[in-house]
C-alpha cells in the first residue's frame, strides 16, 4: 500500500535556508545541504526546495544548492521558485531536481503546464496553488507571495491544471501559512475531491494531529517547514505518532 508522505520544505535565499511568516521578516535557518541530509536521515519521504530570492544571482545560488543536495540525497527532490518558462524547469532538472513546482507563471500562462507535461512528463510537473478564503465562501487563487488576487477560483483552477497535465498539486492555504493553527481542512477536502492527482497539504502545521487531520481530509502528503526547522519535532517522531493513529507511513 502507498504510504502517506511527510515532506519538509526548505525556503532558500542566496544559498541559505530562511524562515518567516508569509515571507515577511525572513531569518536564517541554516545550510540547505546539511538540513536536507538531516531530514533524509530522520526519514523524510521527499524534500521540497523553494527559491525565494527572486533575483538572477539568487537563481544561480539555487541551482548550485540543488546540485550539492542531489549529490548526497537519495530521496525525491521537488524544486520551485522563479520558474517562468519550460527551460527554467529544465535547468532545475539538470541540476538534480526530480519534480519542478510552478506557481505564478502557470497562472500567467497556463500553456506552460502543457509544455512541462509534454517535455518532462506529468509525474514531474507539480503545480503550486496558493489559496485565500473568500468571505462569501469558496477560495480564490493568489500569486506573488499572496500579494495579488487573480480572480480565479481554486477548485476550477485545480481541475484545469490537471486537465493540462499537472501530476500533483501543492496546495497552500495562505490564511493558515505560518499561523500554526493547522491545515485548512475544508480546502483540502474540496480540492482532493475535485481532482484525481495527488494533493500535498501545506500551510499551518504545528503538531502531529494537524498532519493526521490533513491526511484524513484527503491529502496524500503533508508539507511543513517551521516545525522541523525549529527542532520541535523530527520526521521520525512525527511518523511514530502517525503510525499510532493508524496512518501508514514508511519506517
Amino acid at each position: 500500500m502507498l504510504t502517506a508522505r511527510i515532506i519538509p520544505c526548505l525556503d532558500c535565499r542566496d544559498g541559505r535556508v530562511v524562515k518567516g511568516i508569509n515571507f515577511q521578516g525572513l531569518r536564517d535557518a541554516g545550510c540547505p545541504v546539511e538540513l536536507s541530509l538531516n531530514y533524509q536521515d530522520q526519514g523524510a519521504d521527499e524534500l521540497v526546495l523553494l527559491d525565494v530570492s527572486a533575483t538572477p544571482e539568487g537563481r544561480g545560488h539555487q541551482r548550485e544548492t540543488v546540485r550539492r543536495v542531489r549529490k548526497e540525497l537519495s530521496i525525491p527532490l521537488t524544486c520551485g521558485g522563479g520558474v517562468r518558462v519550460a527551460d527554467d524547469a529544465g535547468r532545475l532538472l539538470d541540476a538534480g531536481a526530480d519534480k519542478v513546482s510552478v506557481n505564478t507563471a502557470a497562472v500567467v500562462n497556463a500553456e506552460l503546464i502543457n509544455d512541462l507535461a509534454i517535455r518532462y512528463g506529468s509525474q514531474c510537473t507539480v503545480i503550486a496553488i496558493d489559496a485565500i478564503r473568500h468571505e462569501s465562501g469558496g477560495w480564490g487563487v493568489v500569486v506573488k507571495s499572496g500579494r495579488e488576487r487573480t480572480g480565479r477560483d481554486v477548485i476550477q483552477w485545480s481541475k484545469e491544471v490537471v486537465e493540462r497535465g499537472a501530476g500533483e498539486i501543492l496546495l497552500t492555504s495562505w490564511d493558515r501559512d505560518g499561523t500554526r493553527s493547522g491545515y485548512e481542512l475544508d480546502l483540502l477536502g474540496a480540492v482532493s475531491q475535485a481532482v484525481t492527482v495527488p494533493v500535498i497539504a501545506s500551510g499551518g502545521a504545528a503538531n502531529p494531529e494537524h498532519l493526521i487531520d490533513a491526511l484524513k481530509a484527503g491529502a496524500d502528503a503533508v508539507l511543513a517547514a517551521s516545525i522541523f526547522h525549529d527542532g520541535e519535532y523530527t520526521v521520525k517522531s512525527l511518523k511514530a505518532v502517525l503510525r499510532d493513529a493508524g496512518v501508514e507511513v514508511r519506517p
Binding site: 502507498l2 508522505r5 532538472l93 539538470d94 526530480d98 518532462y120 512528463g121 509525474q123 500533483e168
Partner: protein, 204 residues
Amino acid sequence: MKDVAVIRTGTANLASVLAGLRRAQCKPVLVDDPKKVTSADYVVLPGVGAFAAIMDQLRSRRLVDAIRERIVEARPTLTICLGLQVLGSRSEESPGTDGIGAFDAHVSRFGTTVRVPQLGWNCIHPASDCQFLTEGYGYFANSYRLTEIPEGWTGAKADYGGSFVAAIERGPILACQFHPELSGKWGASLIERWLGVKREAESC
C-alpha cells in the same frame, strides 16, 4: 571503479540516476551509440516521460536491437520506471507503438479507484527466488504498470488499487518500476547488489 553505460533517453531526472550510481561507487558514462550499449559491462536504461517518446528516441538511435540482445543474452542491465515498461511489447499509453519486445506484456493504466500518477513509497514483496530484490519500500512515480510478471522472469509485486509489478529480474537483469536511485538506503543497496557490491539490506 566500474564503468556503467547510461543510455541517453532525454529522461527528465537523469541527474538523480547519475548521482545514485556515483554513490554506489561506480562511474556512469552517458552513451547513445549501439556499439557501446552492446560492448559495455553494465548498462542502465533510465526512463521518465511517455512510452512513444522514449521508443522514438531509442529507434532513431538504433538502440532497440542492442538493448533486446543484452536482455536475451543475459548481460548486466538495469532498467528504471519507463525503462521496465518499454521492455514489453506494447502500452495503453501509446497504442500503435511497439516496445522493445524482450517479453510479451501489455502495459496498462492504473484503475480509477486510485490517484494517478502513483507518487510515493510503496511496500514491495519479492518472490522467494529473487536474487537482487528484497522486501522494502520503493519510490514510485508512474501512471502505467505491468500487472503480471512475464513468463521466464521472477520479480516483486506491490499493491495500488490491485496488485502490480514493482520489479522483475532474470540473471543479471533487473528492471524496476520504482526508482532505486530515489529509494533511500534500501534502493542504494539494491543498486549495489546489482553491481555486485555486497551490503546488508533493510526490510519493511
